[in-house]
């Protein structure tokens, strides 16, 4: 479904991604794990078109999407929950959700919003609140909810559990599994590698801009090196 081939990404003179290739098959949950600054977010931003790769290509559903502007990529069914929530701070919770469904017909809006409210009752309580005054975790819920609004084929999540209470973390992972079961393919970036690997089909381990290991998620969970570096064991 998504095929990334030999991408190299630079921030000015910093070579952040060095020849990374990977793929995501339809219906899978694939996770990227790696330390701080390994380049996980950079990869997601390159796939969604926010950053440009010097070389290589990104193909989505058989079409090359490298070099295409981000909003067109979104229209093709690829959504991203960006790192650090990035909700629209001066819009209300509900307006934020509406923005998530920008590419969809407004007639389908109501149902989707109710659906999100059902998953996150907290958001319903706060529907008229300005997103900027939400607590950190509430904003994270909102960011997730907003991504759900677009009903994507492939959903890329950048640290969705950051700053969430333990209960909610579980809930988020449940939602991810559920979405996946309903047919959404997931590309997941997580610090909580334990949890991520436990729901993922496959995983890639990233170190300073390179993919060093790739394997079935269950294998990675038992890999000693991975354990030591990312699972705190």
């Amino acid at each position: 479904m998504l095929k990334v081939e030999n991408i190299n990404v630079y921030y000015g003179s910093i070579h952040a991604i060095k020849g990374v290739s990977f793929d995501v098959n339809k219906g899978e949950i694939v996770t990227l794990i790696g330390a701080n600054g390994a380049g996980k977010s950079t990869i997601l931003n390159t796939v969604s078109g926010l950053l440009k790769s010097k070389t290589g290509s990104v193909t989505f559903l058989g079409n090359t999407i490298s070099g295409i502007v981000p909003h067109k990529i979104v229209t093709r069914g690829l959504a991203q929950v960006p790192e650090g929530r990035r909700v629209f701070l001066n819009m209300t919770v509900e307006e934020n959700l509406e923005m998530g469904a920008f590419t969809r017909k407004s007639s389908e809006l109501r149902d989707s919003i109710d659906d999100v409210y059902e998953r996150f009752p907290r958001l319903k309580e706060r529907r008229k609140q300005i997103a900027g005054t939400l607590s950190g975790g509430e904003q994270q819920m909102l960011a997730m909810g907003r991504a759900l609004m677009s009903k994507p084929e492939l959903l890329m999540l950048d640290e969705p559990s950051m700053g969430l209470a333990p209960l909610l973390v579980e809930q988020i992972f449940d939602i991810i599994k559920e979405l996946n079961a309903l047919g959404t393919t997931i590309l997941l970036v997580e610090q909580n590698a334990q949890m991520a690997l436990s729901i993922a089909d496959r995983g890639y381990v990233l170190e300073t801009g390179r993919i060093v290991t790739s394997a079935k998620a269950s294998d990675l969970l038992n890999n000693d090196a991975v354990k030591k570096a990312y699972l705190g064991g």
């Binding site: 909003h71 979104v74 990035r86 909700v87 001066n90």
Partner: protein, 292 residues
């Protein structure tokens, strides 16, 4: 009493021009947080186009009006594409200086092409004076006031209710995330500039009806006053721009009316300062408390 009413009308008339220009400022400011210094100069170009059309091409006033509005719209979009797009991720002040540069450029080009002498623009819109409360009010005054109020209402509707309006709000908050929502950044911004500049075009027509001169520097003072109006009303807020424009217009009229015309600008700015001290984000500006 009648003196008060006529001063009121004077204030409303000049205020409505400020308001119309301030609306354009606010539109553009709303989306890329840019004080578009070139806005006033777009009005200047509109005035020259109207003059060219009427005097040199001998077109009818209607055609001249349409031509001026189209020219302004195009010019606004071109400026955005050429000068502002490359600076999207740059510090805001750099963008501001670019806008100032464009403003200088337009003024100096106009001077080069049209020479320094003001051009007299023939009447574009004419009609009978109207009797309001025993006071004859000029037709153009009525038109100006009506047009700016209608523009404000339409724009508010555009921003609040339409999909494009939603896109504009999203872009103004966070360009990157807006793209991830599937919003076409370039077309949204261009559209905003087009609307803002079309307003400048309309502004130039109404300006020429009331003050029938086109000169290279006419835009700078007008732009400055309108900018003040936009800030007074709460920049980014469309009804605010409207209110700000009328406030400045009325303040000027009444300062003159009480015999302080010499101090007019000083008093207007003093009012502005006092308002800002008590209401730091302008009359209708939202106070955005940063969550810590």
């Amino acid at each position: 009493m009648s003196l008060v009413i006529s001063q009121l009308i004077n204030g409303l008339q000049s205020g409505s021009i400020y308001a119309l220009v301030a609306l354009g400022y606010s539109m553009v400011y709303g989306i890329i947080m840019l004080l578009n210094f070139a806005h006033g100069d777009i009005i200047m170009v509109g005035a020259y186009v109207a003059w060219l059309a009427m005097v040199h091409l001998a077109l009818s006033p209607i055609l001249a009006i349409i031509l001026a509005i189209i020219a302004c719209t195009l010019l606004g979009v071109i400026i955005e594409k050429v000068a502002y797009t490359p600076l999207r991720s740059s510090p805001r002040l750099s963008l501001l200086i670019t806008a100032i540069g464009i403003s200088f450029l337009l003024e100096n080009l106009a001077q080069l092409i049209f020479k320094a002498d003001a051009k007299r623009v023939p009447p574009l819109i004419t009609g009978p004076s109207i009797n309001i409360a025993g006071q004859y009010v000029d037709f153009t005054a009525i038109i100006t006031i009506v047009v700016s109020v209608i523009s404000m209402i339409l724009l508010t509707f555009l921003v609040r209710k339409t999909k494009m309006g939603k896109a504009m709000r999203a872009v103004s908050e966070d360009m990157v995330t807006a793209q991830l929502m599937g919003i076409n950044l370039n077309s949204t911004i261009s559209f905003t500039f087009a609307v803002g500049s079309a307003l400048a075009g309309i502004g130039s027509i109404l300006y020429c009806c009331t003050y029938p001169q086109a000169s290279p520097t006419m835009g700078s003072m007008l732009g400055l006053k309108a900018f003040v109006a936009a800030v007074l009303g709460g920049i980014g807020s469309l009804p605010g721009a409207m209110i700000g424009g009328f406030c400045i217009g009325l303040a000027e009229a009444f300062v003159s009316a009480v015999g302080l015309s010499v101090w007019k600008d000083g008093v207007v700015f003093a009012i502005l300062i006092i308002v800002l001290i008590f209401k730091p984000t302008g009359i209708l500006g939202k106070v955005i408390n940063e969550k810590v």
